[in-house]
């Protein structure tokens, strides 16, 4: 079986751009066009949020995205259909489903198998720490682990034990789309994590602008942008824009440009050392 996540990281000699959107936001029909727009804009890996009524770790932007998507009728079953549809035109871009555990449990024991068959590559489950993850049948999915500013040396081994795909570093203790971490703190955290794992390290939470993305791309294997894109979708939807995918593509291309030009050769060498 191909491992799209590993292949994608192996193919890049720079930091990857990871983009997040809420599945079904602003409606299920637009999701596949938006996913393709993310790729055209330069996203290397996509996280699709599975909306939930009670997104406890998300700030207002993604809360609103969840509400828009749920009101428009998204469900996990529909989201897997959208993924299957996306895969008919794009067999290379890794897709990671991100969300909360309960909708996945409601799908039943076949979730991992169905999600793998649809073309998903990984899972990020916000409210599923490693201790509780054993009961979930993953099929062929990578279960992406999260490290945070509170992950001390006592905790880190538990996070890394069985980690797969890549390691997601949550740069701030907090919810999505709020505060941003200082560049120096992120650099130190990435250094520490890379010393402890061979997995690629992605950094997210509080990354909103091309400049912030470039700062992180200098040190991390991937930079994740979510709330800023979800906000853009919400605003465009509010204005009744007739080209939401086009607006998404345009914004993502500014992020992509910043990430692609972030590393001078000297820094690359230093990171490689």
């Amino acid at each position: 079986m191909t491992d799209r996540i590993a292949d994608r990281f192996a193919s890049l000699d720079r930091s990857a751009l990871v983009t997040f959107v809420c599945g079904g936001d602003p409606n299920p029909e637009l999701t596949a066009p938006i996913l393709h727009a993310l790729v055209r804009g330069g996203a290397d890996l996509i996280e699709i949020g599975m909306p939930f009524t009670d997104p406890m770790a998300d700030g207002p932007a993604i809360q609103q995205g969840n509400i828009r998507a749920l009101e428009a009728g998204i469900s996990l079953k529909k989201l897997l259909e959208i993924v299957r549809d996306f895969r008919t035109q794009d067999s290379a871009t890794p897709l990671v489903l991100m969300g909360y555990l309960n909708p996945l449990l409601a799908h039943g024991a076949d979730f991992g198998r169905d999600a793998t068959a649809a073309g998903l590559d990984g899972l990020i489950i916000v409210d599923l720490p490693p201790e509780e993850a054993g009961e979930l049948e993953l099929g062929g999915l990578h279960l992406i682990r999260l490290a945070t500013p509170t992950t001390d040396d006592r905790r880190l081994p538990a996070v890394l034990d069985g980690a797969s795909g890549f390691l997601y570093y949550v740069a701030v203790a907090g919810i999505t789309g709020q505060n941003s971490a200082a560049a120096a703190d992120i650099e130190a955290a990435v250094r520490r994590l890379k010393a402890a794992t061979t997995l690629p390290v992605a950094v997210g939470f509080g990354v909103k602008t091309p400049a912030q993305a470039a700062d992180i791309a200098r040190h991390a294997d991937a930079v994740v942008v979510g709330s800023a894109i979800v906000d853009l979708i919400g605003n465009a939807h509010g204005r009744k824009s007739n080209d939401i995918p086009g607006e998404v593509e345009q914004f993502v291309s500014t992020l992509s440009q910043a990430v692609r030009t972030a590393r001078p050769e000297a820094v690359l060498t230093e990171i490689g050392a």
Binding site: T53, N102, L104, D127, P129, L146, R155, I175
Partner: protein, 417 residues
């Protein structure tokens, strides 16, 4: 009377507890059978593991127990009386009814038992800020009270809809120096207040202690809240032994998250006592407007634990409904989910209308205005007691007083204030 029943101590370990006891749970990872656990964001995991270590240390520390017992006695006013409700017994004509008077505690409900325990833990852990969620406002008031007593700043999250129906408690919290933050997301009730408290906690994880008000949330909360509430059942057992020389036949309590019920039930789990938990049936269990997660829900994960939840086929949480803001929650503590699944506790529903009747009955017959939450348990008693012989005993947890509810009840009854 057995010696272990005479000395009220909120954290006594039961000498009778054995491997076959129903009182030994949860397991080391916080599971009660298939329920419970720790389903939280990774940011919170180190803190929750710290809390667990600190709680284990506190339980073994005589100074902690001594301070807790002192405050429960002199600040809360424990032990609360066990009262033989003779007029109500006569009125209903059947089993003898005993009321465990938790509504006489400082702040007017059982909630303070737990808040005293948790703020002592917060102090031990060096935390400098307190947050809590509240539904009816009883837990918010109790939390604001202990925060005032210990000089810690305190923020209470409360659904906008609950703020509207519980204005007296909102004002109380503000008088006590707490900031009350209105939560306008989702159904604007207890569930959403808990989401917002969790968001605050994860953002302020280094200095903030989250005082959860019920036996839910990630391990060790369901265990420690239960332990702090066990004093209710321990006292009642000893007091009833003194009054009647025996165990009750039935013990009954209202269940939202389930802290007053587990506090009453837990000391009786290994005894031949019928235990009945009353869920809020709202407009009826055959409608969609109720808060009975055991009767109308199924297993899932929310707010840090696996338990029974009101949810749709896609696993989205559905809105609960109850006339009582304190029961208006789509989940239930995991130990209750387990006790339900093994059949040790029977859970039944009482509607808004039945609770409203019982609320008025207790006021008129006993001169006690109960909380609307508590009125659900009393409504069950009005149905059960007449069917039982006069030598049978029902023990009811009178978990809170109803002063906070008079405006909402007046509205329901069409009375002008």
């Amino acid at each position: 009377m057995p010696e272990h029943l005479t000395k009220p101590s909120s954290l006594r370990t039961d000498p009778d507890a054995t491997a076959t006891s129903l009182r030994v749970g949860p397991d080391a990872r916080g599971h009660f059978g298939a329920f419970g656990g720790r389903y939280v964001a990774e940011t919170l995991m180190p803190l929750i593991l710290d809390l667990e270590r600190e709680y284990i240390a506190a339980k073994a520390d005589p100074a902690f127990r001594a301070e807790l017992d002192y405050l429960l006695k002199h600040y809360v006013g424990r032990p609360s009386p066990l009262y033989f409700a003779e007029p109500l017994t006569r009125h209903l004509g059947g089993a003898k009814i005993y009321l465990k008077r938790e509504e006489l505690n400082h702040t007017g409900a059982h909630k303070i038992n737990n808040c005293i325990g948790q703020i002592l833990l917060a102090k031990r852990m060096g935390k400098t800020r307190i947050i809590a969620e509240t539904g009816a406002g009883q837990h918010g008031v109790a939390t604001a009270t202990v925060a005032a007593r210990f000089g810690l700043p305190c923020t209470i999250f409360m659904g906008a809809r609950d703020i509207e129906r519980q204005m007296p408690n909102v004002f109380r919290m503000r008088l006590l120096g707490a900031e009350v933050r209105s939560v306008t997301s989702g159904s604007q009730t207890l569930k959403d207040a808990m989401n917002e408290a969790l968001r605050d906690w994860v953002t302020n994880v280094h200095d903030t202690f989250y005082i959860i008000g019920t036996v839910a949330g990630p391990h060790p909360y369901p265990e420690l809240v239960r332990d702090f509430q066990n004093v209710i059942g321990e006292e009642a057992k000893a007091q009833l032994f003194e009054a009647e020389g025996r165990l009750p036949d039935v013990a009954v309590a209202a269940v939202g998250g389930g802290s007053n019920a587990i506090g009453l039930f837990h000391p009786f789990l290994d005894d031949p006592v019928e235990l009945v938990g009353i869920e809020a049936a709202g407009h009826g269990l055959d409608t969609e407007a109720h808060a009975a997660s055991l009767a109308g829900g199924r297993s899932g994960v929310l707010h840090g634990n696996k338990t029974f939840l009101l949810q749709d086929a896609d696993g989205q949480i559905t809105e609960a409904h109850s006339i009582s803001a304190g029961l208006d929650y789509p989940g239930i503590g995991p130990e209750h989910a387990w006790l339900h699944s093994i059949g040790r506790v029977r859970y039944e529903g009482i509607t808004d209308a039945e609770a409203l009747e019982a609320f008025q009955l207790l006021a008129k017959v006993e001169g006690i205005i109960p909380a609307l939450e508590t009125a659900h348990a009393l409504a069950w008693v009005t149905k059960a007691a007449p069917t039982m012989a006069a030598d049978r005993i029902i023990l009811v947890n009178l978990s809170g007083r109803g002063d906070k509810d008079i405006f909402a009840v007046a509205r329901e009854l069409g009375a002008e204030l």
